[in-house]
Symmetry: C2
Subunit: 344 residues, 2 copies
C-alpha cells in the first residue's frame, strides 16, 4: 500500500476541497435556483417570495467542546449560527430541522438544557422545529441544523454583487468571539473573572444573529453584497472577492473593536489585528455599499439601531487581492482565517 | 458524582427519547404545516403544492461500516434512504443538501467515488445538490442528507390515516437487506459467493427507493396510510399504530420472501420470520388500503409495475397491539425492530 502517495483531504484544505468538489453541485440549475456559493441556497417559492435553505454540521472537538460549553449555550448557539446565514441574505427564518447523534452516556438533563437554550432563541425569532433525526453516536456529539427561511426576491442580498469602489462595512464589533474563545481555552472562565472577560466569553457562547439588521439592510437598494462574519473577515472577504471577482482593501485603524477586547488584548498580549481579522464567529454582517450612498445609509442605520455602521474598507478592482492598510501604509498580517480541514 | 443514578440516553431508548423530546417539536404549528411524526415534514408551497422535507444523519459504525461498504455504494445509499422518505409520502424529490464530516486521512479518490455513486441515483431521480456543509471529523465519517421534495396536497399519504379493517400491503420483498447485512458481517462478500448471496448483498448496499410506486399509490384514493420500510415492519407498523391509534395483525405466511433469502436462510439457519419482520432497510413501501378496494388496487399495481402487491395483514381496532399469526394461529416473535440508541 502506498498510502503516503495518495492525495488525502488534509492535503487539499477546505478551499481546495470546495474547489474540487463544487463541480458536483454546479450542474445547470433551473432559473431562479441558487446552489452553493452563498450563505443560503435560494429556491423560487410563490410570486416574488423565495425559499432560503442553510445547513451547518457541528461536531464535538471541532466546532465546540462539549465538556466546556454548557448545554444551554450549545442549544442556543447551534441555532444562532444558522440563523446568521438567513440574516446574511436578508431573510426571515421560519422552520428548523435538527439532527443529533448522542453518545449513550449523555444525561437526559443535559439534553433538556440543550433544548431549553434552543427554545430561548427559537421563540424570539419565530422558528418552529419541524423535524430531524436522532441516533446514538459511537464517538462524540454531532449536530446538524437546517433552517428554511423566506425572503422577498427583490430584497435578497448575495456575496456576488460587490462592485469596485463599494464601501465595506460591518454591523458589529470584530474579534470579541475569538477573544472569548481564547479566554475559554486558557481556562479563564473557571476562576473569578473580570466583567470584560465575562463579556467576551458570552459573546463567544451567545452570538446574536443580526436578523433585523439583515432585513433592514437588504431593503436598502444601496446595499450591494452581504454575508455574515463566520470564519473571520479575512476568510469571509475572500469569499466576496471570489464571488464578485474583485479585490478588497481593509483599513485596520477603522475596525470596530470593543473596549472589552482592547483591555483583554493588552492584558494577555494578543495581537489585536489578528484577533479582529482572523478570529471567527462574530456573526455580525459584512456588507458592501454604493460609495456615494454610504453616509446616508450609516445615518439611517444609526436611527434604526442606535449604533454606527463602521466602514472598514473598500472594494478594489484588483482581482482576488486582499490588502491591509494602517494609516495609509500597506501592512502584512501573518494569520489567515480558519480552515475546517487542516489540523492546527 | 452519582452518575450511575442520573438518567441517560441509553436508559430511554429511541422510542423513549422521541416520546420525551417530541414536546419540543409539538408546539402549535400554523395550518397546513406538519412537523415530526411522519416520513417527511410538510409545508404549504403554492396552491395545492406542498413542500416535503426529510433529513437523515448517517454515522460510521452506526449506520454503515466505512471499511466495508464501497464509497460508490455509500454515496448511492445515503441518497437512496432519504429519497425513500419522499416516496413514502407520494412526493417528487427535487433538491438535496449534503453535510459531510471527513476524517483527515480520507483519500480524495474515495470521495470521488462517493460522489459518483450519489450522482448515479441523483441523475436518475432528477435531484439537484444545492448545498451543504463540509468539515473535518476527529472521529469517523458523518453524513447528513436533507431532501426537499414536492407533492400535490391532495395526493399526500400519511402514517395517521389507517382505519380498522384496512388491508396492510408492501411493495417489495421483506428481509433481503437484513440477509445481505448478515452475509456482510459474516465476511461472505469477500470470498467467491453464490448468486443468491450476491443478490442479497446488493439489496443491502443498493436499495431502490420506490418513488414511482409511491406516486402511483398516493394517486389512488383507496390507499389510506403509507410509510417506508426502514427499521423493519415490526418497528414501522408500530409507528402506524401509534399515529393512527389502531392495532395490526400480520399474517406471517403471506410475507413476500425472495427465493434468494429463502435459500440463504436455509443454508445459514436463519429464522426467516425474524429476518423478514425485524430486519430493516428494505426501503419498499408499507401501506394500508380500504379493504373492499384492495383486489382492484393490486390489479392496477400489477398492470403498472408487472409484479404483485402482497397483502401481509390487516388493521385492527385494538389499540397499539401488534399480533402475528401463522395459518390462523397467533404466534410470539422474539425480536423487535432496531433501536438507534441501545447497544446490541
Amino acid at each position: 500500500m502506498q498510502n503516503g502517495k495518495k492525495l488525502r483531504i488534509e492535503d487539499l484544505g477546505e478551499f481546495g476541497f470546495i474547489a474540487r468538489f463544487s463541480r458536483h453541485f454546479l450542474k445547470k440549475l433551473p432559473p431562479g435556483v441558487l446552489g452553493i456559493g452563498d450563505d443560503c441556497a435560494v429556491i423560487p417559492w410563490k410570486g416574488r417570495k423565495k425559499l432560503l435553505v442553510t445547513t451547518d454540521l457541528l461536531i464535538d472537538g471541532v466546532h465546540f467542546l462539549k465538556d466546556r460549553i454548557s448545554a444551554l449555550d450549545l442549544g442556543y448557539k447551534s441555532l444562532a449560527v444558522n440563523l446568521s446565514d438567513i440574516a446574511a441574505m436578508g431573510g426571515n427564518p421560519r422552520w428548523a430541522f435538527l439532527s443529533i447523534a448522542i453518545p449513550a452516556e449523555t444525561e437526559i438533563a443535559w439534553l433538556d438544557e440543550f433544548f431549553r437554550g434552543w427554545r430561548q432563541l427559537a421563540r424570539r425569532t419565530g422558528v418552529d422545529l419541524l423535524g430531524g433525526d436522532t441516533t446514538k453516536s459511537r464517538g462524540g456529539l454531532v449536530l446538524n441544523v437546517v433552517i428554511l427561511g423566506e425572503a422577498d426576491g427583490k430584497h435578497l442580498r448575495y456575496r456576488s454583487s460587490a462592485r469596485p469602489g463599494d464601501i465595506v462595512a460591518v454591523t458589529g464589533n470584530l474579534g470579541d468571539s475569538e477573544g472569548g474563545l481564547r479566554l475559554i481555552l486558557k481556562g479563564e472562565e473557571k476562576g473569578r473573572i473580570k466583567p470584560e472577560e465575562k463579556y467576551l466569553i458570552r459573546r463567544h457562547y451567545r452570538p446574536r444573529p443580526h436578523l433585523e439588521e439583515g432585513r433592514f439592510l437588504a431593503g436598502q437598494p444601496e446595499v450591494r453584497a452581504m454575508m455574515d462574519v463566520s470564519d473571520g473577515i479575512d476568510s469571509d472577504l475572500r469569499r466576496i472577492m471570489e464571488r464578485s471577482d474583485c479585490g478588497v482593501r481593509v483599513f485596520l485603524e477603522q475596525l470596530p473593536i470593543s473596549p472589552a477586547l482592547k483591555k483583554c488584548a493588552s492584558r494577555y498580549h494578543w495581537n489585536l489585528d489578528e484577533v479582529a481579522v482572523a478570529g471567527g464567529e462574530d456573526y455580525c454582517l459584512l456588507l458592501t455599499v454604493a460609495p456615494e450612498k454610504f453616509t446616508g445609509l450609516a445615518e439611517k442605520f444609526f436611527r434604526r439601531f442606535g449604533r454606527p455602521l463602521p466602514a472598514i474598507g473598500q472594494i478594489a478592482g484588483e482581482k482576488n487581492r486582499l490588502r491591509y492598510f494602517r494609516d495609509g501604509h500597506q501592512v502584512e498580517l501573518k494569520k489567515s482565517g480558519y480552515d475546517h480541514f487542516r489540523t492546527e
